[in-house]
């Protein structure tokens, strides 16, 4: 490690860093704007100026930009030198020439990097006598608010949006001091990563529209460390609450997973928590079909009574915690616990587990994905099913660029130089998919194939890697796919990505055979398999293939052998065909539903029980890598909801369930779960338990500047209410407690003296993009511990009947997720339920966009709106998952289509697009 001298003191700093990074890593404050730990340096803002001295005798030195100057052994610098500090003050003064003094009404105020840097650089007096420049703002969609007058032209937004995230609809316009960052015209930002602009922008140009409209300052937000429940990636988040409402979600730094960035579903898809569709009380269906609020203890007693006297089935959910599912499993017994995942998906997940066990490949974290240098994606539409990984893939294809830059002794942080040098050279990424995807722009090869042909491609690549000579089809395969095999073999860290999204087990098996072939060649091979929900892998591991399948439950229902059915956080109408679910719910004598939002399954229940959302309860989720992570309650809900595991435990206790009698708190359930099977051992180490204290103190959820404890409830009482004791977690609903170094999984929000924005995260890190100083528990289920389902893996293969169209599952970042799609903002972006047709298919049926077709399949007929997708291969039709009608069609089944004659075209929906910027 080189030793450098800063203001007369010697420091050891990491090789290859720049002075700005090094200073921040050493805890020395040096203001900056354009540099970003994940995006590197361009030297645009000139804020991080320091003095560099030639030698010990040099007293004058030269002004250099910290972010553009590599550390070198023996180099001498000064931060405090007057020439440097006065220059930095001048830079701030220049940035403030046009910056409005609207901090009191700015959503960034109180967590504004510009405010922090202004104070740090010491600018106070304005010398400029002229007027400030003003700009027109644009309407950028329902998620992001635009306020260009605040812009300080650091170029971070376009560098993130275009260079880092691959977006194309945000650019720097004009020149000199008229530079404008925006779109060609008003309209929603198209990138699924647009929300990061809120955090990337050092001031209030891009702010969270939902927060702006219902505003709370950062210092008044109560936060907790959380995990995004939106998909199987498990990004770490920091949701913030005030007045019982979830106000916003910010990124929570995790060096392995999300780093500094979230996807828009994760950031904006959590406010369903405030929805009016929350179940308001424990309710019992009355004779008139409506629900009456009933006393919860009476309801629980009734339910418990039923349990001991009847045949009970429990249906769990892949979208909720291990603990809730474990509690349900204990309540009804393993043989009566169903994961609630469809038959098809169960088979796919099993195939994934088999692939992981057999291939011998490593399962990469998103951070490790960024280091892979040749990638093959088989079928999985990553941008829609595991969005954050798409961002990692965009970084992975830059490895070739970093290699080229290294040849010129350029460091990877020299961002502009590297991009200019490399132009469009990328590490190879190959994509096989039935339709165009949002990663096509970085792909070296795109193969538009039906799922079964994707599997064929996979097997061909595997045999090319193995170098088998006996295959007759080898030659054509070599022509078609030779370059894929070659690129994977040439790579140092090849990565194969697939998952349950393509709904064909043979594709997953093909992925497995490629990885096996690469492993056999001695390659450090990576395999990522994507699941569809936050805890799909978790619940599958919990179930271990022991419980009945969903179709087995339907059969039991048909035989009238179910008296009581407990459904936890699962809308069955999104899992299976309507007629089957209808039958089941009618057959059971008593249907009890625990859920967060009202849904079709709730409507059919006899008793509904309000469950806490992820933001109101503790829980453990297992992500696509097998990584177990804990989310903590952010706030106590105003609703009478409780965590499902708590309701279930209470029922268990009333019914004297002997396993559950012992359970006093979340930690007990968690511990029992970790002891229940060798697979889940370790999930009790995911985060410190409720007894954890630092110096006898808990970790506060509120910043120490939190204000208005009394004022918030002054309409009820002028006395300061007692803060609720949190007996379940190491966190407190207070502003008092320990706020020094904490384990990463217990950091509710980031703040440091002088650093009010999220940039303060560097104070908690060891170096940029580095580990957290307070440590971090990493619990990953080892692949050898994965237990293969005892159920026969039913192969899900595609129907290749000529007269039929193959139903292909399609996913939408906005719309597929049951809960996220009910968040304000996202609601407007959700696609409507439709069937996507290739142009040829549409022509054949004589339909165009907006017309209706009737799909005839094994579950009968369903009418769907036509959406033409010119990238879809002609014998496939796309069925968007997560929509009410979609569950009636099994992915992979052959559909015959007819034009729907009775179809009424929808009138154009008026969204805020039409309102333009007027709604804010």
């Amino acid at each position: 490690m080189p030793t450098i001298v800063i203001d007369g003191k010697e420091y050891e700093v990491p090789q290859g860093e720049n002075i700005l990074e090094a200073c921040l890593g050493l805890g020395l404050d040096l203001p900056y704007f354009c540099w970003h730990p994940a995006m590197g340096s361009i030297g645009s803002c000139r804020q991080c100026a320091v003095i560099q001295y030639q030698n010990p005798e040099d007293e004058r030195g030269k002004l250099v930009m910290g972010c553009m100057t590599p550390v070198q052994d023996g180099a001498r610098f000064s931060i405090t030198n007057e020439a440097a500090s006065s220059f930095r003050e001048f830079i701030i003064e220049s940035l403030m020439v046009n910056h409005p003094h609207d901090c009191p009404v700015c959503a960034e105020g109180g967590e504004c990097h510009l405010q922090d840097m202004t104070v740090m650089a010491g600018h106070r007096d304005r010398r400029y006598r002229g007027l400030k420049k003003t700009h027109r703002n644009q309407y950028l969609g329902p998620l992001i608010h635009h306020e260009m007058n605040r812009c300080i032209t650091c170029y971070r937004c376009v560098r993130f949006y275009k260079d880092y995230a691959g977006g194309s609809d945000l650019s720097a316009m004009a020149s000199h001091d008229h530079v404008y960052f925006g779109r060609h015209e008003d309209g929603k930002l198209e990138s699924p990563f647009s929300g990061n602009l809120v955090e990337v922008c050092p001031t209030g140009v891009f702010t969270d529209k939902h927060l702006v409209n219902d505003y709370t300052r950062k210092w008044d937000l109560q936060s907790a460390p959380s995990i995004c429940p939106g998909c199987s990636v498990g990004c770490n988040t920091s949701p913030g609450e005030r007045y019982g409402k979830l106000k916003r979600v910010h990124n929570r730094y995790n060096p392995d997973i999300n780093g500094y960035f979230l996807c828009d579903k994760g950031r904006f898809g959590a406010t369903y928590v405030n929805s009016e569709k929350r179940i308001p009380a424990v309710g019992r269906r009355s004779k008139d079909g409506l629900f009456d609020a009933i006393d919860s203890s009476q309801a629980l007693t009734d339910i418990a009574k039923g349990l001991s006297t009847s045949k009970v089935i429990g249906i769990g959910s892949p979208r909720t915690s291990i603990e809730t599912n474990f509690a349900l499993q204990n309540l009804v017994g393993q043989q009566n616990f169903c994961t609630g995942i469809s038959e098809t998906e169960t088979a796919l997940v099993s195939a994934c587990i088999e692939a992981i066990k057999e291939s011998g490949a490593k399962i990469p974290s998103p951070r490790e994905i960024e280091r892979c240098d040749a990638i093959l994606i088989l079928g999985e539409d990553v941008t829609n099913t595991a969005t954050r990984i798409a961002l990692s893939l965009r970084q992975a294809v830059r490895n070739e660029a970093f290699n080229m830059a290294e040849g010129l002794q350029l460091q990877s942080w020299q961002d502009a130089a590297t991009r200019m040098l490399v132009q469009d050279e990328r590490s190879p990424l190959f994509l096989a998919s039935p339709h165009a995807t949002q990663l096509d722009d970085i792909a070296e090869g795109i193969f538009n194939l039906s799922p079964s042909n994707i599997a064929h491609l996979g097997y061909s690549v595997a045999s090319l890697i193995e170098g088998k000579k006996d295959d007759a089809a080898k030659k054509t395969d070599a022509n078609d796919y030779g370059n894929i095999a070659e690129a994977l073999l040439k790579a140092e860290r090849p990565l194969i990505i697939s998952g349950t999204g393509v709904t064909d087990t043979s594709v997953i098996k093909a992925a497995s055979s490629i990885t096996s072939a690469l492993v056999a060649k001695g390659k450090e091979t990576y395999l990522s398999l994507i699941y569809q929900e936050a805890n799909t892998l978790g619940i599958t591991l919990l179930d271990q293939g022991q419980g009945p399948s969903l179709s087995n439950i339907f059969e039991q229902g048909e035989n009238n052998s179910i008296q009581t059915l407990i459904i936890v956080e699962n809308d069955l109408y999104r899992r299976a065909a309507k007629h089957k679910v209808d039958k089941l719910l009618q057959a059971a004598d008593q249907v009890i539903v625990l859920d967060i939002l009202d849904n079709e399954t709730c409507n059919q229940a006899d008793i509904v029980i309000p469950a806490s959302s992820f933001a109101e309860c503790e829980g453990t989720l297992i992500n696509f890598e097998g990584r177990a992570q804990r989310h903590f309650p952010v706030f106590e809900s105003k609703h009478p909801c409780r965590p499902s595991w708590e309701w279930l435990t209470e029922i268990g206790k009333i019914s004297s369930n002997k396993n559950m009698l012992e359970w006093q708190c979340f930690d007990d359930i968690n511990k029992a779960c970790s002891e229940s099977s060798s697979t889940l051992t370790g999930i009790n180490e995911v985060a410190p338990d409720r007894k954890y204290r630092v110096g006898g103190r808990k970790i506060p959820r509120q910043p120490h500047r939190y204000s208005g404890r009394t004022a918030m409830v002054a309409n009820l009482s002028v006395h300061e209410p007692k803060q609720t004791d949190d007996t379940e977690t190491p966190l407190g609903f207070t502003m008092e407690g320990h706020s020094g170094d904490r384990p990463g999984e217990l950091i509710p929000f980031v703040w440091a003296p002088g650093w009010n924005s999220n940039h303060s995260v560097h104070k908690l890190q060891t170096g940029s993009e580095g580990e957290l100083k307070g440590g971090r528990s990493v619990v990953k289920i080892e692949s050898k511990k994965l237990i293969q389902s005892k159920q026969q893996v039913k192969s899900v293969n595609q129907n290749n009947d000529q007269d039929h169209f193959i139903a292909v599952a399609m996913y939408k970042i906005f719309g597929t997720g049951e809960l996220s799609s009910q968040s304000p903002g996202i609601i407007e972006l959700c696609e409507s339920e439709s069937i996507e047709l290739a142009i040829e298919a549409a022509d054949k049926l004589g339909v165009s966009n907006g017309d209706g077709v009737t799909a005839h399949g094994v579950n009968g007929t369903v009418d769907l709106e036509v959406k033409i997708n010119d990238s879809l291969i002609s014998n496939c039709v796309g069925i968007i998952q997560g929509m009410p009608g979609a569950a009636n069609i099994n992915p992979g089944e052959g559909l015959s289509l007819t034009r729907s004659e009775n179809w009424v075209r929808r009138s154009e929906i008026i969204s805020s697009d039409q309102l333009g910027g007027k709604n804010v």
């Binding site: 220049s94 006598r129 032209t153 200019m420 132009q423 050279e425």
Partner: protein
């Protein structure tokens, strides 16, 4: 002996030199000699020995610049030679003449230069307003392709070169070589971070040399007549001739090819005929709008890189702008700063937001709204914006040169304006 190699063909009436006349006058001999008889490294040595320095303003030794181009074939791919014909430095009007009058001289220089660095593609980056130069150059390029000076197998050798004319869409910053490269790539013309230098990673990430028109016009002559001949053309320590120009209120404004190192006085008094009647000399910008003022005491200095540098200015483009006694230095500097502020690409803070602050003070001063703190504020701005390294490229430091030197040489004018007084020679709107 040829003493004015660059303008020897130029007609009095500035009509274009036809290819036949160009050839008859020794044209394409330098190219023929180098391509058919010399190796690229021999050519490079000749240019190095000639001591030719870049005529675009910075005066960097051309041979040395070229020597940074990787000549191994380790990384196969294109190499580029780009002619910077984006003449836009205020007060500069030399390249226009060379291109409009004798386009083949530039093309021949580019062929020689391209051969030396083994570039296979060359571009002329011409400013969009030079409509006539665009016509003459396009015509000349066509003729060269027809005559086999460009294209496949030039002059029967296995050397091939394609040359394209790109006409710009404006912006002074395109004259900065890396901004020019970005513009040629079809991007916004923000200067690039250096390193890497374009010689290693330039146009489309490939090795690229960017040279000024006048620099390239010298090349074929040097290769044809040898470095010693070229050395002898100069008067002082620099070699060759220089296109000098004078504009302002002088008798005979114009542009002349003279031995490099000719004194300012000779250029101003002999060639430009001295000041117009009724005007007297106060100072001059020696080489365009981004050089420091020189005054009376400097008139006998030789116009070469070293001498002018020692006097605290730069020779720049060698085209002088004369300040007379009926022109206010505050107004003149305001005009320049307005220009630079408007031509900032908007990339770095000191330039983008610092120059408009400077312009605003000068605007107030020249319109009679000056305040006593203005001089201190200007000095502060000069200190922060005026040093190379404080900004991303040299535009803003260049902009500060006339301001800082004007404040030094004409303090009474600044003080007068800082008292809120109007001036007879400034606009007062």
């Amino acid at each position: 002996m040829i003493t004015t190699p660059l303008t020897k063909n130029v007609h009095e009436d500035r009509r274009v030199v036809l290819v036949e006349d160009y050839e008859a006058n020794g044209g394409y001999q330098g190219a023929r000699k180098s391509i058919t008889q010399m190796t690229p490294s021999e050519c490079l040595q000749v240019i190095k020995d000639s001591n030719l320095r870049g005529r675009g303003g910075a005066g960097f030794p051309t041979g040395m610049k070229w020597s940074f181009v990787p000549m191994d074939n380790v990384s196969p791919g294109h190499k580029y030679l780009v002619c910077n014909a984006d003449e836009m430095e205020p007060g500069t009007f030399k390249d226009r003449l060379l291109m409009e009058c004798d386009p083949h001289q530039l093309i021949e220089g580019m062929i020689c230069g391209s051969y030396t660095i083994q570039a296979d593609i060359a571009y002329i980056f011409l400013r969009g307003e030079y409509v006539k130069a665009a016509e003459t150059l396009s015509q000349a390029i066509k003729e060269c392709y027809a005559k086999g000076y460009l294209g496949r197998s030039i002059m029967g050798t296995n050397y091939s070169l394609d040359l394209y004319l790109h006409t710009s869409a404006g912006r002074y910053i395109c004259g900065e070589e890396t901004a020019l490269i970005n513009s040629l790539e079809g991007k916004r013309a923000n200067p690039r971070a250096k390193p890497p230098f374009p010689q290693v990673s330039g146009l489309w990430g490939r090795p690229t040399i960017v040279n000024n028109v006048e620099t390239l016009c010298n090349i074929s002559h040097i290769l044809d007549h040898g470095p010693e001949w070229f050395q002898e053309l100069g008067i002082g320590e620099d070699a060759g001739t220089k296109m000098y120009g004078v504009s302002g209120n002088v008798q005979n404004p114009g542009c002349w090819e003279l031995p490099i190192g000719t004194t300012i006085r000779e250029i101003l008094e002999v060639h430009a005929g001295g000041m117009l009647p009724g005007y007297s000399f106060r100072g001059l910008l020696p080489g365009g709008g981004s050089t420091d003022f020189l005054v009376e005491e400097h008139l006998d200095l030789a116009m070469d890189y070293g001498t002018i540098g020692k006097a605290g200015s730069r020779m720049g483009t060698g085209t002088m702008i004369i300040l007379d006694d009926k022109t206010c230095p505050v107004g003149m500097v305001k005009n320049l700063i307005d220009f630079f502020a408007h031509e900032s690409c908007g990339f770095c803070t000191p330039c983008r937001d610092g120059l408009p602050q400077t312009a605003h003070i000068l605007q107030d001063m020249s319109s009679g709204k000056g305040e006593s703190r203005d001089i201190e504020n200007l000095e502060r701005l000069v200190k922060f914006i005026g040093s190379i390294g404080n900004t991303h490229c040299a535009l803003a430091p260049g902009a500060m040169e006339p301001l800082q030197s004007a404040m030094k040489y004409f303090p009474e004018d600044f003080e007068r304006h800082a008292k809120g007084k109007k001036c007879n020679y400034c606009e007062t709107d």
